[in-house]
Subunit: 222 residues, 3 copies
């Protein structure tokens, strides 16, 4: 099954890797890493989620090591950010919108690929979320930061991916998938992420925790 034509899908794939790689390269610039560090974070962020998914489902070598485009995209992204990072920072809003699009696209194709390799609905959806959000976790771990995904003071990132991947898993389970329904799942995750950014939606913390922080706890946090 194909969400889109193979050609279109590949271009969307590369576009998603591109925007993820930008977020990795920009973090490396902010952390004052050298050009090697910028390239490493661009690769890890752009390809990390997909490599994890492919290792888990046994699709080795992962797609990232078989298609030259997957390799050149983070490389070119690094070069771009190395020379133009002030300009890229300035269009950060646009980058976030593309990142939301990448999130929507990757949670859907990740779920589909895991399903094609025989995983059940829940496992496929979980891997879809890992495909979309995993690169960012690898990026933050390498940069020695608490992953944004885990922090309460950021707009929700995993929830849109979960909704998108979960919808795909449901559609696959009921044999109701098709080009249109799949595209709707991408748009659903994309739209939710945009809305979260626009309205500042955050996930709640543990029960009883809200009052505690008002009193200034979080001492173990950096």
């Amino acid at each position: 099954m194909q969400l889109f034509t193979p050609d279109l899908q590949r271009w969307l794939d590369l576009a998603g890797i591109f925007v993820f790689a930008i977020s990795g390269a920009l973090l490396a610039v902010r952390k004052n890493f050298d050009v090697i560090g910028i390239a490493v974070l661009a690769f890890a962020t752009g390809l990390g989620g997909g490599i994890f998914r492919d290792l888990v489902i046994g699709a080795v070598p992962p797609a990232a090591f078989r298609d030259l485009g997957y390799f050149l995209t983070p490389l070119l992204t690094s070069v771009l950010v190395i020379f133009l990072h002030p300009q890229v920072e300035r269009i950060n809003r646009a980058v976030q919108i593309f990142d939301a699009a990448g999130l929507g696209f990757f949670c859907v194709v990740g779920t589909i690929k895991a399903h094609e390799y025989g995983l059940g609905s829940f496992a496929a959806a979980a891997l879809g979320v890992a495909t979309a959000a995993g690169g960012g976790v690898v990026r933050d771990v390498l940069a020695n930061e608490v992953p944004l995904l885990l922090r309460w003071d950021r707009e929700i990132y995993a929830v849109p991916a979960m909704v998108g991947a979960g919808s795909v898993a449901l559609l696959l389970h009921y044999d109701a998938f098709g080009d249109l329904t799949m595209a709707l799942c991408v748009l659903l995750a994309f739209g939710l992420r945009l809305a979260a950014l626009h309205y500042g939606w955050r996930a709640p913390r543990a029960w009883h925790r809200r009052s505690a922080t008002a009193e200034g706890d979080g001492g173990r946090e950096r």
Copy 2:
């Protein structure tokens, strides 16, 4: 070969994942992460060690992605901790005892599974230890903490797992395994960990290091 009946083994497996997931979810609450962060750490701690073992021995997709119970256990654990974390913290002693049981159980089943996939005695025992202790390392790395496993100021955790996994490897090597001897290995690791907790056993540091720290070094440590 089976340590216990498949049904009993599965329940022990899920119980082990449950207590490991609790330790992940509680750390997330202490670090003030949101509910997504709590769930991510519960999954990573409960399933991380087993996923690593399965990737290394080539058992893909890992068990965690094939059995729905493996998926639902950390999910339910997260919900439990989100609403009842003060109560769970209060029975922390009980949690530690269950965690010790999980340690004993996982180091044994991890070694057996690796052996079944054809690994040698040393490699199988090493993977048994990784199964038991790996989830905690993933938890601490994701939470941006120095892994407890590496710290000198904590009761030994890896040593009981090494003794348990090593005993299993020896028994397998001499064809002397069976339900009884295997259960004894679980109890051995479990008992050692409990004794370590009770008597405050710690692993030594490098030679000449004790005096050095008395003079207040460790400046690079956080």
Copy 3:
């Protein structure tokens, strides 16, 4: 294809693991970890790069779990460093030279192994670099430090590996490999790393970044 006789290659392999494991064990001593932490970092640094490569190309179980020598080398290194770390620190210069030799050797054998498993030139070279530099990244992530590989204030480490791995990939592509050319690739990476250490070569940072740091930025850096 063989770079050297199998026997010689295995000894070089073990020598490389030995020097990488030393760097892991020494970091653990400096961070005041206990003997378990020292052994864990020795294993992770010595074997991490090769395990990652083998998982990606589907060579499971990884070599590190099949050859007892790969297992005993980091173990013996740990024991050595635990008792003799002041002496090992004192010959740090010699350790760095051996580490450079390990870097040269691993980037070449990593590229060759990936090529043998059917990867393209770029992917094989990338895995060669990951084999050589991956262990150090795992070491720093586990020790909760910013990976040295990413930092601008260290002599280049990845670049010599890239040059070595890239040369191998080129030679393989043009069917021009052989014992002599391969040995030259090892020497090339080795020599570049030694020169980088001797002359203090560093990789540049992002454009416009030099002046910024002169004004004392890098506030987000630790």
